[in-house]
Amino acid sequence: MSDIDTADPAIAPAKRSVRWHIWIFLAPAFLVYTAVMILPLIETLRLSLFNVVDGQMAFVGLANFQRLFGDPRLAADFWNALWNNVVFFIIHMLVQNPIGIALAAMLSLPNLRFAAFYRSAIFVPTLLSFVIVGFIWKLILSPIWGIAPGLMDLVGMKSFFSPWLGKSESALITVSLISVWQYVGIPMMLIYAALLNIPDEVLEAAECDGITGWSQFWKIKLPLILPSIGIISVLTFVGNFNAFDLIYTVQGALAGPDGSTDILGTLLYRTFFGFQNQIGNRPMGATIATVMFLIILAGVSLYLFVIQRRMRRYQF
């Protein structure tokens, strides 16, 4: 500070003092983030342009991408994984987020008893490790030891039970619903917070105008929480296209049966690290990672530049 005070008084008022503390406080986060996120990201993008030629790493331009989309097997694997990933995302959007909003709306009802208990109980699975979630659901749904067949028998629905995780037509839906079960607490909490932010005056004014109950939710509350729903959709999109852990713990790296639960994350894992007798292919893995990055980037940009700008905001 003192050196600035002694500077030429003619310029001093125009120049703002250099606020070093900002940079100092930012530095640790910036350095750590650069070391563990940005550099690896750049390195991955770079690796996708290289491949082993005659035992040496060499720059090959876009040849890896050409192979990924041109080779019939790799392309089939990739499109299969991408499509499964889209289904995975759609199920989350159609099941997780509406349920999350509904739960939040119910929790914010002023005369609900045990609201705090419900809120915690629904949020707890989100805090559990995906390994535990995957393992307990595998056990619950196991046709041999699981409690699902027995419970369904109690209500006379035994005939509807099938080994869902082992059938290609139902495995992806089952895994998606397990994931929904685990993460439904997040949209619930965010929407809950948004709902609590709506000032009582607005709601009272609505009541004076005769808007109550359902129409109050649709006409007053929902427009006010739309920005939060947008954020949740983006979070779901990013989370789903980066997903890997739950599928890996429930279905293994092969994401069976017959690749029906294979999403981009598991495909990337198998390609990059290899599996069993398949040896890992680092450049091709980096290529898939790059494509994933671009897909997520495109989705987020679409939201930020197209959807978010058109969203109407209300100031209270």
């Binding site: 046709p143 041999i144 082992g166 059938k167 092969l254 017959d258 290899g274 398949q278 040896i279």
Partner: protein, 418 residues
């Protein structure tokens, strides 16, 4: 920046273990996928070695079998792998040797104790250099519950027809699940199914070598028929076998809920400690009575020297000991079901293990078809066969499609030598 970062990573991963090596005695680490065998190594094998070589301390560091290959490859590339590397047979270890990660062991004392066949799984294609000490082979077959067989009143099947008759009997009886196998993990379907019964169809080595030479195709009847037989197993598997995992199958059998368990000899030791009924074993049934039988006697496990090991001399001492008859005897009896490849005859105490090994007298032996030469490409034939076998049993693929798909995958990269 990258360089500094790499330096930091290097310092934390490579240099850290170096501190331990400074101690007086030499420290050896074995990388392995046999996490089931951890107690055997810790309680029997390593103490026996350390008693003879008190200045060498050995650590057995196993990991999960499905993660072993990629993990050990990554460790070798980063220079953090242990001194001794447990070798998968054939193409995987060969790739490591070709990359200079495994040392040549031709002049290792004790290598003369092994036949060329035993060494074949860890020798270059031209047969000149060996790079792993052969430890053991495993034999495929079926383990059955003797009490269950008596209860239902059936005999051990010799032919395929008898085999299905036995399964049908168990199904009618209803007390036991006829076959304990699931398709969720996929590898059981191929390893315990296709590779197990297949050699009787493609006539063992004859078919395997013809496949490598390109004179037979996976679409030929001798390669498709085993799939058709596997498809018939479906009716005799437990409810919900599509979601049944490998540990599920093991538990179903050892808890006495299933009658027959298609498997390999590696299961003997764990089963002995878990099952409280008497177990027997039979070789894959032949098609018609009197047919020559073929079994899969797969060179499964060897041990090699990390070419960058700092303790190469101590590691070689250990490897020579592994090549000795003393180790052969110790290992074959400590881990029954892993059969010694050593020339010196080993007397095994375990009856079930003796039963498995007795098939060698009458049957021709072969190895898994996807292991050597045709298994080194992308897509990997072994994984393709896992998927195809599981699909065939699930009924989502016909045997013919399974043959076509696997052949198509092989054609995409493999050109047989002319």
């Amino acid at each position: 920046m990258t360089r500094i970062l790499k330096g930091m990573l290097f310092a934390t991963t490579v240099l850290a273990p170096a501190g331990i090596a400074m101690a007086q005695e030499t420290q050896l680490t074995i990388e392995s996928w046999r996490n089931d065998d951890l107690p055997i190594w810790q309680e029997k094998i390593i103490p026996a070695f350390e008693a003879k070589h008190p200045n060498i301390k050995v650590t057995f560091a196993p990991m999960a079998p499905t993660e072993y290959n990629s993990a050990v490859n990554a460790k070798l590339e980063a220079g953090t792998a242990g001194d001794l590397i447990t070798c998968r047979p054939f193409d995987l270890s060969l790739a490591m040797f070709e990359k200079g990660q495994l040392a040549a062991l031709n002049d290792l004392q004790g290598m003369e104790n092994f036949s060329d066949v035993a060494k074949s799984a860890w020798t270059t294609d031209d047969g000149a250099t060996s790079f792993c000490v052969p430890m053991a082979s495993v034999i495929h077959g079926f383990i059955y519950n003797k009490a269950a067989f008596e209860e239902v009143g059936v005999q051990v099947p010799k032919t395929e027809e008898e085999f299905f008759a036995v399964l049908e009997k168990f199904k009618e009886d209803g007390n036991y699940i006829p076959l304990a196998m699931g398709t969720k993990d996929q590898w059981e379907a191929a390893t315990m199914g296709y590779y197990n019964i297949g050699p009787n169809y493609w006539k063992g080595e004859e078919g395997r070598k013809a496949l490598i030479a390109g004179t037979q195709k996976l679409t030929d009847p001798q390669w498709v028929e085993p799939y058709a037989t596997l498809a018939k197993w479906k009716d005799y598997l437990g409810d919900g076998f599509e979601a049944q995992t490998y540990p599920d199958s093991q538990n179903l059998f050892t808890l006495g809920r299933a009658a027959i368990y298609p498997t390999g000899s590696w299961e003997i030791a764990p089963f002995k400690s878990q099952a409280d009924f008497e177990m027997g074993a039979f070789a894959p049934p032949v098609k018609a009575a009197g047919d020559k039988c073929y079994i899969s006697d797969h060179n499964d496990i060897g041990i090699g020297l990390n070419a960058n090991s700092k303790n190469a001399d101590a590691a070689k001492t250990f490897l020579s000991w592994v090549a000795s008859p003393e180790f052969a005897d110790l290992y074959a009896n400590a881990a029954p079901g892993f059969f010694s490849l050593n020339n010196s005859p080993v007397t095994m105490q375990d009856e079930l293990a003796q039963e498995f090994v007795s098939w060698r007298e009458n049957c021709e032996t072969t190895i898994r078809p996807s292991a050597a030469i045709v298994g080194r490409g992308d897509p990997n034939l072994d994984l393709e066969m896992w998927r195809a076998s599981a699909n065939v049993i699930n009924g989502t693929m016909t045997p013919e499609q399974a043959g076509e798909e696997t052949q198509k995958g092989l054609d995409s990269w493999y050109k047989p030598a002319k």
